[in-house]
């Protein structure tokens, strides 16, 4: 018979590893599927809206995915998915929408101003600030290259 503490040690040794493999697999599959859905939306718009340019189609696809991500968060499905899928639901742009809607809903009892409008950017704030700052720096660097080279 195995001692209780020994058994616990054995459990601790084996459980996290299988758990970890599982999270890697679900992240891969869910991330891949979300990207395929994005490709499907892109194709749908390309065939049904031939008057739009490639860039507009890409923007429209992003907007649609953000809408879907926000909607699924609002009805409570996205966070449920996220518990199983991890990075697979965080890294796609739908996860960015989720990161905006999820804290905003959580705090909307504190009112529209202090709750929703400010808490929206709890997670998305760092993303937007770093993204815009980096793009401005890149712009200046490429401008200087353009001028001096």
């Amino acid at each position: 018979m195995i001692e209780k503490t020994e058994y616990q040690k054995y459990v601790n040794k084996t459980v996290p590893r299988t758990q970890e493999l599982k999270t890697l697999l679900t992240a891969f599959i869910s991330g891949g599927i979300i990207c395929m859905i994005g490709e499907g939306i892109l194709d749908l718009y390309t065939y049904t809206l031939p008057m739009l340019g490639q860039e507009e189609i890409a923007t429209l696809t992003t907007i649609t995915l953000i809408f879907i991500g926000g909607f699924l968060t609002a009805v409570g499905l996205y966070d449920k998915l996220g518990r199983h899928c991890g990075a697979g639901t965080i890294i796609p742009i739908t996860g960015f929408a989720n990161s905006i809607v999820s804290p905003a809903i959580e705090f909307n009892r504190e009112g529209v101003f202090q709750g929703v409008m400010s808490k929206m950017f709890d997670i998305a704030g760092p993303v937007i600030v770093s993204g815009v700052t980096m793009s401005a720096i890149i712009g200046i660097i490429f401008y200087l290259i353009e001028v001096f080279a």
Binding site: E20, T23, L24, A27, F28, G31, G32, I33, I34, C35, M36, G38, E39, T59, L60, T62, I63, I66, F67, G70, F71, T73, V75, G86, A87, G88, I90, I91, P92, I93, T94, G95, F96, A97, S99, I100, V101, A104, I105, E106, F107, N108, R109, M120, I123, A124, P126, V127, I128, S130, G131, V132, M134, S135, A136, I138, G139, I140, F142, Y143
Partner: protein
């Protein structure tokens, strides 16, 4: 068959990006904000060195749907703007990413206001 192969490429590339992200989460216990910023930065760097175009040719939505694509978009706007002057260079990123940002803020706001917070219902 062509279309099947393309969707497979999208699946594999998109899956791999999230797979790498999950490894980082498992190993470093990073929060989702840090993960998002890291992959956004990756996109900015890939676009700045010119590698993003080739990944996009192969993986299409597999690389543009992850936040990496958003970062690449920001950088591309800035790089394109740099040809026309300093102001277009600085604001170009925001211009290019305006659609996604506007959608995220407006839809995010509407969805958050109309849905009730879970703790309130108790």
């Amino acid at each position: 068959m062509d279309i099947f192969l393309r969707y497979l490429q999208v699946f594999v590339v998109g899956g791999l990006v999230c797979f790498i992200g999950q490894i980082l989460i498992n190993k470093t216990k990073m929060t989702s904000a840090r993960i998002l910023v890291l992959f956004l930065t990756l996109g900015v760097v890939l676009e700045a060195v010119g590698a993003f175009r080739y990944i996009k040719e192969f993986g299409s939505s597999g690389i543009t749907v992850p936040i990496v694509g958003f970062g690449a978009n920001l950088a591309k706007g800035a790089i394109d703007g740099a040809k026309y002057g300093i102001i277009p260079a600085v604001v170009g990123g925001m211009q290019k990413a305006a659609g996604g940002l506007t959608a995220a803020i407006v839809f995010g706001f509407i969805f958050s206001v109309v849905s009730k917070s879970k703790t309130k219902r108790m």
